[in-house]
Symmetry: C2
Subunit: 352 residues, 2 copies
């Protein structure tokens, strides 16, 4: 029986509450589909930062290399500036492990009301492919004349041909396996005149290799408008680090709950571990109450087992999530129920 | 009778169709409220670029200085890269005339269906204040190793204390005159670690001067989600050049038609002319058919006369727009009617 080593990083806030439910469902899936997951816990978090001065130990990245995948809850806590906690843990993992694809499904489930008028399941069903290692998120930049009237801050966005091409290629390859076979590129080449025209050029180049795939592009401003007005237009939407980030929160918002959205930070070459985590954050406002929706974490688990090579297990988890939503199973407050985190997790594990 | 000199720049595509309707309504308002507008036409456009090599003459900016305001249609045409047309006309006007505030109302009108479920007029009624001269839109940056595998592009985002403070100040001053007295800042200080934490610092500093105004902030990703889920939360939303751009397309999308959204590019000190233009672009797909919705242009005219000192005239135009939408007046195709551009313009002029 194949055995896979998984690093567990619950992180902060509700991350610590939803992660165990993700694990519970993964264990159910492993039993049913005959594989083994070996979990190792890491307490890397803002708590740890406050105690030791570091989000993770100095050899943290080295330790993680021993694992096939990382299953993460959420990172961030009030009192710790986000750019400290995130750049001390989440972002180095994404970046140093070359997890250059951040993949996020946007899907409207039966039983979850959409904030959009008259949208039915099946009409919102697409993927956001986000570049995850470069672009607008960079360490390059800084400030000058700090504390004076002349103060200014500079941020460099850096787009490499290698970085852009590989994520575009992933998007086209991914779309070659979908029903609609359609890639939409998020750009802003009318406003951001150095990097975005470059992105567009690479997109035009890449699409030549995929004559059977429909390819189009929109500026990010009007693209957010189309997400709201025409979510049925999309299949695979590819964007830079920042644009992908925005679209992969806006997308799930159209489907009723950020609490159910999952994500995979993927190193397609499998040279390094990939990381799976819910889209939601650590939610300090509801942390400690055990009312957080664990579905984002559980669905991330489905993405992880698909990555590990068990598509049937992934589908079983996704079907269990869908069934729990339709069949009047327990639901958490964000979806109008009053189930707690554990009851929902247990119900889904049972369905698997 | 006061006389105001206005430069007209129809620009490209439907800009040439909607601008005359804006003028027609402005003339009706001027007659009724006793002021005079003296219009001068400029053919600066992509057509002109193709003929002469320039979007505007070399002394274009100098010529415009003679005017109190600029009333613009839309800029951009297929075959001309956007970054060429826009950086040759629209952006220099915004920037060199220090029109550092881009102000855009987001309002759901009676009679215009929202793509959101169960949203009524009054529930979506807020303003986006966008920084309009610096930030993510900058000429600084470029490419290296062009045409090779090592190619990369760099874009610098530049935020100055002066630039950030003045737009934040405008937002707070503006909110001090609204009913809700609430400013929301768009940030991304967890991902964009040099400029956005700086923006947050300046926001924290500025809000100290306005103890009676409620101030909060969200990361741009979740903020777009809240626009969809909780548009009633907002009053004045302030963002950088890029974030404001995104939010001021997404906002109008929630209210049913980008075709009706107006904008003002404002130099609050009135040292230079301000410019008023619809949010929509030149729409090559429908240009020449005279079916474009002129309301965005007409409403921009209302913003312009308010800026010129005629609030009653502005309100009369806005009431006429609202009335034409409710009372079964003619409407263009985007709003489900089959009126043409001129019929709608004439109907609104009549109501004024
Ligand atoms: C045309 C483009 C440069 C422009 C912008 O991004 O500023 C447009 O989207 C707008 O919002 O006026
Ligand atoms: C926490 C933050 C840095 C992060 C991002 O912007 O990447 C988050 O919004 C996400 O999407 O995973």
């Amino acid at each position: 029986m194949a055995k896979h080593k998984i690093a567990l990083i619950p992180g902060d806030g509700i991350g610590k509450e939803v992660l165990p439910e993700g694990v519970r469902v993964l264990e159910a899936a492993a039993r049913r589909f005959n594989f083994q997951l070996e979990f190792t816990d890491f307490d890397w978090s803002c708590d740890r930062l406050l105690q030791t001065g570091k989000m993770m130990p100095d050899d943290g990245m080295e330790q993680l290399k021993a694992f096939e995948s990382i299953f993460l809850g959420a990172v961030g806590w009030p009192g710790v500036p986000d750019h400290v906690s995130l750049w001390g843990l989440l972002i180095p993992i994404r970046r140093d492990f070359d997890e250059y694809v951040n993949l996020r499904p946007v899907r409207l489930f039966e039983g979850v009301p959409s904030p959009l008028a008259n949208r039915k399941p099946g009409e919102i069903d697409f993927w956001v492919v986000r570049e995850n290692t470069e672009g607008e998120y960079s360490q390059i930049g800084g400030r000058m004349f700090q504390g004076t009237d002349m103060e200014f801050a500079i941020q460099e966005a850096i787009f490499t041909r290698k970085g852009v091409d590989r994520v575009l290629k992933f998007a086209f390859e991914f779309a070659s396996k979908t029903k609609k076979k359609h890639v939409t590129s998020a750009t802003k080449s009318n406003g951001i005149i150095h990097t975005m025209p470059f992105w567009d050029e690479r997109f035009a180049e890449m699409k030549k290799n995929y004559p059977d795939i429909k390819a189009d592009q929109y500026h990010i401003d009007i693209l957010t408008a189309h997400f709201v007005r025409n979510p049925d237009w999309f299949d695979v939407v590819v964007g830079s680090n920042l644009f992908g980030d925005i679209l992969s929160d806006l997308g799930p918002a159209l489907t009723g709950s950020i609490g159910v959205a999952p994500s995979g930070n993927i190193n397609p070459e499998r040279k390094f571990p990939s990381m799976f985590e819910p889209v939601h954050g650590s939610a300090p406002d509801i942390a400690g109450k055990w009312i957080a929706n664990p579905i984002g974490q559980i669905w991330s688990g489905a993405m992880m087992v698909r990555h590990l090579g068990y598509p049937e297990a992934a589908e079983a988890i996704e079907r269990a999530i869908a069934a729990s939503l339709v069949e009047g199973g327990p639901r958490t407050r964000d979806l109008g129920g009053n189930g707690d985190t554990k009851t929902v997790g247990a119900a889904i594990a049972e369905l698997v």
